[in-house]
């Protein structure tokens, strides 16, 4: 049996992922978190008298804190594996990836462990986020002055 035939055999016997179910689940979980976020922003605006812009900053801080705390207490990873991509929202997912790496490497030293590995997963988001921001910034200047 050559490589191609074997790959076909493997594909035939590999159970299919329930993509539609996962997508629907992720849609509702992600949507629910977005909804909670909007509720918090509204509360911050009405009860605490914050400007819209400030309310979103506080929301962001709150989301990062909650996601990191839940990761530290060991809940978040179980929820992510159940909710599929729904909990991978930029803010919570990012916080989770940084906290999980920090937890993992803290025993290997502050520089050689925690410092050099804390952005192991989130590093790509930061790097390509910055490059993307830079490029779109240039495009913005070109087209909108």
């Amino acid at each position: 049996m050559n490589k191609d035939e074997y790959q076909k055999l493997v594909e035939e016997y590999t159970p299919k992922e329930k993509k539609l179910k996962n997508a629907v689940l992720a849609f509702f979980v992600g949507g629910a978190i977005g909804f909670i976020g909007e509720v918090i922003v509204t509360i911050l605006q009405t009860s605490f008298g914050l400007e819209v812009k400030d309310a979103y900053v506080w929301l962001c801080i709150l989301m990062i804190f909650v996601a990191s705390a839940l990761t530290a207490f060991g809940f978040f990873d179980n929820w992510v594996s159940k909710c599929k991509a729904g909990l991978f929202l930029p803010t919570t997912g990012f916080a989770h990836s940084v906290t999980s790496a920090a937890l993992d490497y803290r025993k290997d030293g502050f520089i050689t462990g925690l410092g050099s590995n804390v952005f192991k997963l989130a590093g790509s988001v930061i790097l390509y986020g910055m490059i993307g921001g830079f490029l779109f910034g240039i495009l913005g200047v070109i087209f909108h002055g």
Partner: protein, 326 residues
Amino acid sequence: MASKKINHVYIKDAFSLAGPVEKDGSIKDYDIVIDDYYYRTKTFEQAEIKMQKVVIDNILHRHHLVHSDIDLLVSGDLSNQISVSSYTASNYPFPFLGVYSACASFVESLIVASEMMESKKKANVLCVTSSHNLSAEKQFRFPIEYGSPKPNTTTFTATGAVSVLLTKEVSNIRIEGYTIGSVVDLGCKDASHMGAVMAPAVAKVLMNHLLDFQRNVDDYDLILTGDLGCVGSKILNEYVRRTYGIKMKNHLDAGCNLYLKSQEETYAGASGPVALPLYLFNKVLKQKKWKKILIIGCGSLHNPFFVNQKLSIPSIAHAVSLEVNL
């Protein structure tokens, strides 16, 4: 040369330690179970070293052996540079050989040990294997607390350690022969589908073994593979049927059977070098159902760098045949 009959090497005893998920699995009577992945140490790696020390000390204690009674220690694990085995060995005066063929390390250690013991009149050799779910996850995959969704084909690295005492004194389990496998690569690149990576290596060593010893697959009461997992087992059976026209009715996979189906976090079953000895010594041999057993340990020989470089994953499998006196 790759296959050889062994006449006078016996497995006297084994001592098993199992982790928190394994103790809720299909086997209930391990010698020791631990609830804590840290095992009262500071890190997972140190916990794994302690696990190996505990199984070595316990098997020595059980048979009233002192350090000078052991002629050789052969051990392997999944950590980088098999450091766990080396650090464990630094606590003992035994001559030490470290072996690595990923999850086939246990079978490799049996082969090395029995080959060296065969010509001796008297020898006591310890073969030790361990794996730790979290230290392996950290090394091969993502940080531990990072809960990325996993595909159904993923296997779950078993936590545990097993020490096996090989002697020249007659016991109920005899090592009857072995076949050293070759490295096989049929183009699989998915590190979360290791059953598919390893199945062709298992098939190859099985066929070489049967050919060299001039046996049929039915000459064995049981063919026990290491950690193909439930998906990999199906692929192996189909691959062997299509390629060699053989139907394997007497096949069991330790990885697929170590956990219960209700343990969803284990996906397609157990992996890790310790899966095979845990299942062999605590289930298969205790059931006293099978006389002639062929154990095939299989290992996916990847590391994260090569996977990231998009190279396909080579795999290996080694076989040892056991004769059990029921």
